[in-house]
Amino acid sequence: MPARRGGFFILLCLLAILLEGCPLAWRRFTINEVIQPADVSFIVPGTTTLADIVKNLGAPGSIRPVDSGTVVRYHFLDIKYFTVNITRPLSLFFPVLELVPSDLYQLTYSGGGLGTDELQVEFNKNWVVVYYAFAHHQKASSYLP
C-alpha cells in the first residue's frame, strides 16, 4: 500500500513537471454580473422612470443621447479561453529539441469566445421608459473555437 501511495506522489510530481509553464490553460474573465429578466419585471414602458430603475439595478454603465431621448446600458461580459501546447512535453523525451527554437516545432491549439449581455433601456426626454430589451450573446462565450 505505501508503495502504491509513493507511486501516486511520483506520478503527481511527473504530471506537475509535464504541465510546468502552463502548456494547458483554461482562463475566464468576467465583468459584472448578469441581470436576469426577472430582475427587470418591474419596468413598465410609459410609467417607469430612470430613478426607479437606478433604485433597483444601480447606476447604468453608460448613458448615450439619441434624437428621441436617451439610451442607458447595463453591460455584462464573459470571456472564456482555452489553450494547449501539445508539443511542449516533447523536449522532456527528446532533449535535443532544447537546442531548436521553439517556434520551429511547437504546436499550440487554442480557442475561446466572448459573450456579451446587455440590458438596454430607452427613455424619452422626460426620463420615462420608452422600451427595454436584452441583447443576449452569452452563448458565444465558450472554451471551444
Binding site: 475566464r28 437606478v54 448613458i63
Partner: protein, 124 residues
C-alpha cells in the same frame, strides 16, 4: 520513513503550487456615502460637485443637460495550476445638471457587491 514522506509531500506541494497567483486591485476609490449625500439637489453647482467628488471621468451632454460620470472598478483574480479566473465589478455614479449648472439628480442606486476571488473557470 516519515522524513522521506514529508520531503516528498513538500516537493509535490511546491511543484503543484508553482505558477499559482492571486491578486486584487481597484481603479479609483469606492464612492463615499457622505460625499454623495453632501450634494444638494437644486442648489449644488458643477464646481461644488467637482470639489466634493473631484473631476469626473467623463462629461456627457444629453440634449440641454450636462452629466458628470464617475466610476470605479474592483478586480480579483486567481490562478491555480492551469485554471484562471478574473472577475471585475464596476460601480457608476451620475450627477445630472440643469442647463444653468445646478444639480438636478444624483444617480448612484444599489452598489454592486465586490467581485469574488475565484480560480475555477467553470460554472457560473
Amino acid at each position: 520513513m516519515i522524513v522521506i514522506r514529508s520531503l516528498l509531500l513538500v516537493t509535490v506541494a511546491a511543484t503543484l503550487l508553482q505558477g499559482c497567483a492571486f491578486f486584487r486591485g481597484n481603479y479609483d476609490e469606492d464612492f463615499k456615502q457622505e460625499d454623495v449625500e453632501s450634494i444638494r439637489i437644486g442648489s449644488s453647482t458643477t464646481q461644488d460637485v467637482a470639489t466634493i467628488l473631484g473631476a469626473p471621468e467623463r462629461v456627457i451632454a444629453v440634449h440641454d443637460q450636462q452629466i458628470f460620470h464617475y466610476y470605479n472598478y474592483a478586480v480579483k483574480s486567481g490562478t491555480v495550476l492551469f485554471f484562471s479566473r478574473t472577475n471585475v465589478v464596476g460601480n457608476d455614479l451620475y450627477v445630472f445638471f440643469s442647463p444653468d449648472g445646478i444639480v438636478q439628480q444624483v444617480l448612484l442606486g444599489r452598489q454592486k457587491p465586490p467581485p469574488k476571488l475565484q480560480f475555477w473557470p467553470f460554472g457560473d
